[in-house]
Subunit: 217 residues, 2 copies
DNA sequence: ACAAATGGATAGCGGAACTATCCACTGACC
DNA sequence: GGTCAGTGGATAGTTCCGCTATCCATTTGT
């Protein structure tokens, strides 16, 4: 398979494929001559993975590279490869540690201990969660970490399913890839479902409260 | 309050405040002289809202403007104002309607009808969900819309709570603002919890499967 | 024999979100 | 009342990102 065919197969332009090759996201094809190389199904699949991470996961190129490097390194554990996507998904803020975020962060850490969730200390997710809580409070939402207990239990159940599914794969590469896609794409799907639910409920109650342009409730 | 004070209060630089004023995200202060204006708590609050939409919701400036315009327009219903954020959250893809996405889209629409969720026909969420499903299938996940039933039911319950909470606010402006923050920030918080759950479960099973760098399962 | 395509290198582009500079002016302190 | 940092307003510049476009020497298929 040559570039033009790879491009047709994957829907990614030749120029962009070249760019990904340069950036080290896609491994070079098998060289058959000074200016000829041969690509295979692995390249198609890899391109699909790259596009999924970029389009659905909205990872920046650098994070995609870091993730794929971990994926390709056989000595990286499934768990660590997976950690790489996590870091890519959450853009780590520079240092904005406002006092109320710090307070929320301590609550988050206590909550994680209570749940017996062992999280890498410099993972971005706890900080992001603390930030979200702090912002909700700024806007007068009376929110506690306990309010997330149900969501956490449900997330844990589905995480167990997903991880078991990935670990059941034939080989490590497939397991890591499955984990990546599962993380990124399921997250997106669930977010969309939440949005749909909000829109549906909002529409329903709008009708109940009277149709047409509304005045204050 | 003058710019420098507003800047200190909100943590947004003067240059950026000027930029937001120019872009129409922030309404001008009360003019007291040719080159003097007075800002108040409303401006601080608005800046916080803008930053939340940009930082947490990752909305582009244009979407923030569209949203805030709907918020400020008294004749826009709560539901419609809320629809504006939805459109901003999902970056609408140009036209990439691959055949497998179209098929998934039909399933999504049927699923929505089954749930009796009335969704605006050109809302981006159903398309995004269909895309996610199509991608999962490309990677051999045997996924059905029915697999999302539980998540949907749970999303609906929390949406009902959120909408009721917002509709209970004293005035329309507060209700819309609450809805916005709730949508964007809760979504983020739930996503982070999902990531934490995955990391915790992954770490736990990693240990069970043996520590240190892993070979194929 | 020769047009089309390839790999490799380098330069350019367009959008987004700020940031910096300049200016004429003013309000607040000395 | 002088002065000077700060202000609003306008305009231009910067940085980053994710591609695109162009060039070129080689090679391939016909």
């Amino acid at each position: 398979m040559k570039v033009s065919e790879l491009s047709a197969e994957s829907g990614v332009s030749v120029a962009t494929i070249k760019f990904y090759l340069r950036e080290g996201l896609l491994h070079a094809g098998l060289q058959t001559a000074a200016n000829q190389a041969d690509y295979d199904g692995g390249h198609v699949r890899r391109l699909r993975l790259i596009r999924a991470l970029i389009d659905v996961g909205e990872l920046p190129i650098a994070a995609v590279r870091a993730t794929l490097t971990a994926v390709d390194d056989e000595s990286t554990s499934l768990h660590d490869a997976f950690g790489a996507v996590m870091h890519g998904l959450d853009t780590v803020p520079p240092d904005d540690t406002a006092p109320d975020i710090a307070a929320a962060r301590r609550e988050v850490d206590a909550w994680l201990r209570r749940r017996r969730w062992k999280i890498e200390p410099d993972a971005p997710a706890p900080h992001a969660l603390a930030t979200a809580v702090a912002i909700l409070r700024q806007f007068d939402f009376p929110v506690t970490l306990a309010d997330f207990d149900e969501a956490a239990a449900s997330a844990e159940r589905s995480a167990e399913f997903e991880v078991a599914y990935a670990r059941g794969m034939a080989d490590r590469a497939a397991a890591v890839e499955t984990m990546l896609i599962g993380t990124v794409v399921f997250e997106r799907a669930l977010a969309e479902i939440r949005r749909l639910a909000l829109e549906a409920v909002s529409a329903r109650t709008e009708r109940r409260h009277g149709s047409g342009p509304r005045r204050p409730v």
